[in-house]
């Protein structure tokens, strides 16, 4: 029995698409049997996984702090919904336009990122996010203001609305996840990590820091835009409060809890946070206290999140391996010497 475990392990590590797709199929089958409420939650997890996967590229891999992704997510939802409502455009066209548009908008965020880093970048993106939120509320002629608007849902293969958006989201998220995961295992992933860990050394080794930051912003914005477009069809009702700062912080919690710089974490984080959020739905106060405590607790005691623990279980032994960052290695950690070599 040891052999299959070994091969599952290395297949997972090597970036094979078989396992994620198999998991997606299982999730699809389970999803179709769920009642509408649970399916709604599951779909949220799926959509947020896409969003957090993108956010992870930006914050986890590239070390760029952004507070604008809830706003980008919101723009995706609004553009998708409003194009259908105002212009009568079909959903796929609206979704595509929103994704492309948000990618463009998010790419512009690299401009502050070229000059700023750390908290300064965080605050600059925060100001942008608050400004977007302000526009959503105050440009009522187009956005219907603070009250929000009814966004059309979708129906495919004669399924009901929730099932339709669930399957659509699952397919797109799986594809998106595989692509992003593929990307971070190539030289792009190494460049992301390099500008995070030591951007001066990265540049001296030929990494174009500007281009790399731009790609990280574009990619994460694209994920946010697509996720937003899916979310508008899921919610059926789009309002500014779904995309405020509170949501942004929950997204951050998802990324941190799952594990910054790990693709697996992008799925675990949303699942746990959304589960907890449902448990605490009746008390906003407790929700904030518990999520606040979770964030502090993880930063202090489990800074790499949950995903590395799972990798460790998959690896089957406690070796010192690279748990975050790109995994270009086919057999990472299995052949490494276990003794810590001593110099001097």
């Amino acid at each position: 029995m040891a052999v299959p475990v070994q091969s599952i392990r290395s297949a997972w590590r090597s970036g094979s698409w078989v396992y994620p797709v198999a998991i997606a199929v299982v999730v699809a089958l389970i999803g179709m049997t769920l009642n509408p409420y649970l399916l709604f939650l599951l779909t949220r997890v799926v959509i947020f996984s896409m969003l957090v996967a993108g956010l992870n590229v930006l914050m986890g891999y590239s070390g760029l702090l952004s507070f604008a992704h809830a706003a980008l997510f919101g723009i995706g939802a609004y553009v998708t919904g409003l194009m259908q409502v105002h212009l009568g455009v079909p959903y796929p066209v609206a979704l595509l336009t929103a994704t492309v548009g948000v990618t463009g908008a998010g790419t512009l965020l690299v401009l502050p990122a070229l000059r700023l880093s750390g908290i300064h970048l965080a605050i600059a993106t925060l100001a942008v996010a608050q400004a977007v939120h302000w526009v959503l509320i105050n440009w009522s002629a187009v956005t219907f203001g603070a009250g929000g608007f009814r966004a059309p849902s979708i129906a495919i293969f004669g399924l009901n609305a929730t099932q339709s958006i669930f399957l659509t989201s699952l397919v797109l998220t799986t594809i998106g996840y595989l692509m992003v995961r593929q990307l971070v295992r190539t030289s792009f992933g190494r460049k992301f990590v390099a500008i995070r860990d030591n951007s001066v050394a990265a540049a001296a080794n030929g990494v174009n820091v500007t281009a790399t930051k731009t790609i990280a912003f574009a990619l994460s914005a694209g994920c946010a835009g697509l996720a937003g477009g899916l979310y508008s069809a899921l919610l059926g009702f789009v309002a500014p409060e779904s995309f405020n700062l509170e949501q942004m912080i929950l997204m951050k919690v998802m990324a941190v809890v799952g594990g910054l710089g790990t693709m697996l974490g992008s799925m675990i984080g949303p699942a746990l946070v959304i589960f907890l959020q449902e448990q605490l739905r009746d008390s906003q106060g407790w929700l904030e206290i518990i999520f606040g405590a979770v964030l502090i607790g993880f930063v202090l005691f489990l800074p790499k999140g949950i995903a590395p623990l799972i990798y460790r279980v998959l690896a089957g032994k406690r070796t010192e391996t690279v748990e975050t960052g790109p995994r270009t290695g086919q057999k990472v950690g299995l052949s490494a010497p276990t003794d810590r070599a001593v110099e001097n």
Binding site: F188, R196, D197, A203, A204, P326
Partner: protein, 256 residues
């Protein structure tokens, strides 16, 4: 290979480089020595585009790189190591070395996103090359360890491997012997000499450990307070009274 002409650099009122000039010949190992704060690291930062000098000109193989960006200079075949930098902790040792090969992989963004066969092929080759480079530096056993788990001296050697893996025409080393024991320093000197003989790389070596300078360098440039005060073969230069005065100290004079 590398010509530095009349370069000056100031940080506000602080003049760090003052009209400094020297050149590095093809296939030469040139030592750059001087007291702490003389501006050696700043010189290296100016050459690699991290700081832009206020005046002066830097040419690499005849091409003006004074205003080029760091990554452009790296792509032109000039690589360096840092005095205090560490490997990227989020990557394994071999991935750190692979970073040295990144500038232009044979695949683009879309290829990487869909995982085209080209990607796999390039990645495998890059890994192969990096492993060979690590092996050459005697660090292959650490290939899959996280960068940050190595000792400072080991990280140095990996950093050299990363700088060399793309076979640059010029290599700048900033105090590579810091924290190494004497036998290790001798090994490093041998390595530096064989970098030159095997890869034909021109090397600029900043170093305080004179043992290494004498073993590896055919010529030495001495800096003090931002100025180049001597330039010549190691024996002559270290006998120069001005150098002894400003850097080596009177004791050194008396000993030799």
């Amino acid at each position: 290979m590398l010509d530095i002409r009349n370069v000056s650099l100031s940080f506000g009122a602080l003049k760090v480089l003052n009209n400094a000039s020297f050149s590095l010949g093809k296939g030469e190992v040139l030592g750059l020595i001087g007291p702490n704060g003389a501006g050696k690291t700043s010189m290296m930062n100016v050459i690699t585009g991290i700081h832009r000098p206020q005046t002066g000109e830097i040419r690499l193989g005849g091409i003006d790189i004074t205003t080029s960006k760091p990554h452009e200079i790296a792509e032109r075949g000039l690589r360096r190591t840092f005095q205090t930098s560490l490997l990227c902790s989020g990557m394994s040792v071999v991935e750190n070395v692979m970073l040295g090969l990144e500038p232009q992989p044979a695949y683009g963004f879309w290829g990487a996103l869909v995982g085209s066969p080209k990607v796999r092929q390039w990645e495998e080759e890059a890994r192969q090359k990096s492993m060979e480079m690590l092996d050459w530096m005697g660090m292959a056993a650490f290939a899959d360890r996280p960068g940050s788990s190595l000792s400072f001296g080991q990280q140095r050697l990996v950093e050299i491997a990363r700088a060399l893996v793309s076979r640059p025409s010029v290599l700048l080393l900033d105090e590579p012997a810091v924290g190494l024991t004497a036998p290790r320093v001798d090994e490093l000197a041998e390595k530096i000499v064989s970098i030159r003989t095997e890869f034909g790389t021109s090397i600029l070596l900043i170093e305080h450990v004179m043992q290494l300078v004498f073993a590896a360098c055919s010529r030495v440039v001495v800096m003090n307070a931002g100025e180049v005060i001597a330039d010549g073969d190691p024996k002559t230069v270290t006998a120069d009274p001005r150098v002894v005065e400003s850097y080596l100290g009177r004791g050194y004079y008396a000993e030799s």
